[in-house]
């Protein structure tokens, strides 16, 4: 009786998460302080899905046997974790000191305006999401914007439409 009900929950949770993550959790459970691996497990889940959904966190809670309030408490504490699906293209704007002084703030304002979203959110058409980086170590190129893997240097607000256009930006769809 006992195992049956719990096993059902575990099977359900196992189906939600990718197999390598499940295996990683199983490995962690054999280590000394299994709960201390929660953050690295969440990292792996986010790596795979691009974000943490409710069912992902609940699955982690069940497989690691950590109460779900603790899982969401940890996940919501760190800026690194996000809870909405990421866009197809991830626009990352550097807000380090140099970039900020060279006008990254204005670029961000314009970017948010063009896509109709705030930092951490995803545009309505699912194409773009905005992240803010602290310093990408390319201060000579300030302000720096990275879309997926491509780096754009010396970005000015009025260049944004053109840059986003390379990735299929359509104002009507992004901001209906």
């Amino acid at each position: 009786m006992r195992n049956e009900l719990l096993q059902k929950e575990i099977d359900k949770a196992t189906a939600v998460l990718p197999e390598p993550v499940v295996r990683y959790i199983q490995d962690c459970s054999k280590k000394k302080n299994p709960n201390s691996h929660l953050i690295s497990v969440l990292h792996k889940v986010q790596d795979h899905f691009g974000f943490l959904a409710k069912e992902h966190m609940d699955a982690v809670s069940i497989l690691m046997q950590i109460p779900s309030a603790k899982v969401t408490g940890v996940a919501s504490f760190y800026h690194f974790f996000n809870f909405t699906p990421r866009g197809k293209h991830r626009v990352s704007l550097c807000m380090g000191t140099a970039c900020f002084v060279k006008g990254a703030g204005k670029v961000l304002d314009k970017l948010q305006d063009l896509l109709g979203i705030k930092v951490g959110e995803t545009s309505a058409d699912g194409l773009f999401s905005i992240d803010v980086a602290r310093c990408v170590g390319a201060c000579a190129l300030a302000p720096v914007m990275i879309v997926d893997e491509k780096v754009y240097a010396g970005v000015k607000p009025d260049q944004l439409v053109k840059i986003l256009g390379e990735y299929g930006y359509n104002p009507k769809k992004a901001k209906p």
């Binding site: 009900l5 779900s68 309030a69 408490g73």
Partner: protein
């Protein structure tokens, strides 16, 4: 054996010797020096979050938090100085800056620890002002959550984790958005919350409160079409006096009855009657299982917090849990069936109010299993002890000077076995008194089963009944229950019967009980002991002390129910359970 090392230090010039690893605050407490504190709770772990309890230590550059700072040999501590007074006041002022300024309209007005602290520390004007956090109030369940009043002391999180093992609450998000909430910031009703109300008890402010039922009761009392009856749980008579300034442990049964009559209830019955009935039904169920050697151990089902916990955390125990409804639900059901029939009253016109020490009873009353066939609950409203205290104050009842009244017949007649239901081990003792005599057919020589009495978290004993050894487990506080049940699951222990009460100490320390008077605190074992003593003294003073000898119960079976566990009994007095989601992680 290791010898406990002692440390001698001076606090405010007073020499004190305490075991090492004692904190400064505990050492000060031991010589009656009261250091103001807020997040600290003597029965929970220490987090040192609020910094109200700062003290000066000679040789330390900055004041330290006395709740977490361990004593050291020769230490010289100052608990009061102009600097400390200013620091403490500033801390409280900063908390107040982020707190609604509505003390007059707050349910904790007069019992709020923050309010008291602000007064004690001399906050007389507001020096800081700024943006205040804004959160919606969660009124989805019997336990209301108002994060705007939360000061992030974390006591609720700790009681939920450490005492109840439910782990429903955690601090979510960070910085200004910090909030104590269930997983995913979901509503309490959608969480693994079991509605035990211990968070309400330990909360220093009104961030956690019970759902208010007083309005609906006042409304019913002024509705001339309704026949309004009330019944009060065993634990209420031992605690309600505290709400009116009586010392903890003062039984006030008679005054309580008179007060309820004055409040306008048409009939005042006793949940004790339901408790006696529970014992008859449960002991019959138990004996039949023992004889058939099946579905053992039997686990009691009177505590609604435990039932909620069981359905979410231990659904595999559903077959073992007694199918008996709780005394409250049994009596409420009878009021709208048996009593209605006897009185010739339309059951739909009867409004049943139950006074309970418990917030989970509010949830129980609304469970679909406890609905009458016409779609309304058998128990229309559940008041906590605190709510009833307030109602009586609102009505201007002079509780101190009331004459003693007596419960109405026949659903107010009860044995002493029912009174002790309110204390941990009480249900077990009551059941043993009846089971023993049912099995042996002989009269019990001594009615007191001392081994199941007392406020310890887990009690175990074995008794011999006619050559039969009955192994007994009693647990209060769900973390203790977990420990006991896990030992059963591992096969380490084998019991025949287990009593579980969700709240530490049993119903006398339930989530709806009065906030303790000055000098005592929630979870204080001494408080539990005093309150339980009141119940045992009532039991001891009664001549009727065994449920099966209650003449009103005998009459009920004869005239209405037939035999114990009869078909009608099952229909009216028994219930069923279901696994619930989200499932809790143990």
């Amino acid at each position: 054996m290791t010898i406990e090392k002692k440390v001698t230090l001076w606090i405010d010039g007073v020499k004190v010797t305490v075991p090492e690893k004692t904190t400064i605050l505990q050492a000060a407490d031991s010589i009656n020096i009261n250091v103001p504190s807020l997040c600290y709770h003597p029965d929970l772990s220490v987090i040192g979050a609020c910094r109200v309890c700062v003290v000066e230590v000679d040789g330390q550059r900055n004041p330290v938090a006395s709740c977490s700072y361990p004593v050291a040999e020769g230490m010289k501590v100052k608990t009061s100085s102009p600097l400390l007074r200013r620091l403490r006041r500033d801390v409280v002022e900063l908390i107040l800056d982020n707190h609604p300024q509505d003390c007059q309209a707050c349910v904790r007005n007069g019992t709020c620890e923050l309010q008291k602290l602000a007064y004690d520390l001399g906050v007389r004007e507001r020096l800081f002002e700024g943006e205040r956090k804004r959160f919606p109030v969660d009124t989805s369940s019997p336990v209301h959550r108002n994060p705007e009043k939360c000061i992030l002391c974390g006591r609720c999180v700790r009681v939920c984790d450490e005492v109840q093992g439910v782990h429903n609450l955690s601090v979510q998000h960070r910085g200004f958005n910090n909030v104590v909430a269930p997983a995913h910031d979901c509503k309490m009703i959608d969480s693994v919350c079991i509605h035990c109300g211990q968070c309400v008890n330990v909360c220093p402010t009104a961030a956690f409160t019970e759902q208010d039922a007083t309005e609906s009761v006042f409304e019913a009392l002024s509705n001339p079409d309704l026949h309004v009856v009330v019944h009060t749980a065993p634990a209420i008579r031992a605690t309600i006096g505290e709400g009116f300034g009586f010392r903890p442990g003062t039984p006030v049964t008679g005054k309580l009855v008179t007060a309820l009559r004055m409040a306008g209830f048409h009939k005042v019955f006793d949940t004790n009657f339901g408790a006696d009935l529970t014992i008859i039904e449960e002991s019959t169920e138990f004996l039949s299982r023992v004889q058939k050697k099946e579905r053992l151990p039997l686990i009691t089902s009177c505590s609604p917090g435990w039932v909620n916990f069981m359905e979410r955390f231990y659904p595999e125990l559903i077959p073992l849990t007694s199918t008996c409804k709780s005394p409250m639900s049994m009596l409420s059901t009878l009021l709208k069936t048996y009593y209605a029939q006897q009185m010739g009253v339309d059951p739909e016109k009867i409004f049943v109010v139950a006074v309970m020490p418990c917030t989970a009873k509010k949830f129980e009353a609304k469970r679909p299993e406890h609905m009458a066939p016409w779609g309304k609950p058998y128990t229309d409203a559940v008041l906590t002890t605190r709510e009833l205290v307030w109602m009586l104050k609102c009505l201007g009842v002079d509780f101190h000077n009331l004459e003693d009244g007596a419960f109405d017949s026949p659903l107010g007649v009860s044995s002493g076995a029912a009174d002790i239901f309110g204390a941990t081990g009480g249900v077990m003792e009551a059941a043993l008194r009846t089971a023993y005599e049912k099995i042996t057919g002989k009269e019990l020589e001594s009615l007191e089963f001392e081994t199941v009495r007392g406020v310890e978290g887990v009690k175990e004993t074995s008794i011999q009944i006619d050559g039969l050894t009955i192994n007994i487990g009693v647990a209060n506080g769900l973390q203790n229950a977990k420990n006991l049940l896990d030992r059963v699951a591992s096969g380490e222990k084998q019991y025949h019967i287990i009593e579980i009460m969700a709240c530490p100490g049993g119903c006398v320390a339930g989530g709806g009980q009065p906030y303790p008077p000055r000098g005592m605190h929630v979870l204080d074992p001494e408080l539990g002991r005093l309150r339980a003593k009141a119940l045992y003294s009532i039991d001891g003073s009664k001549s009727l002390r065994k449920s099966h000898e209650n003449p009103a119960i005998e009459l009920l079976y004869e005239n209405f129910l037939g035999a114990p566990n009869s078909h009608l009994c099952h229909e009216l007095l028994h219930t069923h359970y279901e696994p619930k989601t989200p499932r809790g992680v143990k």
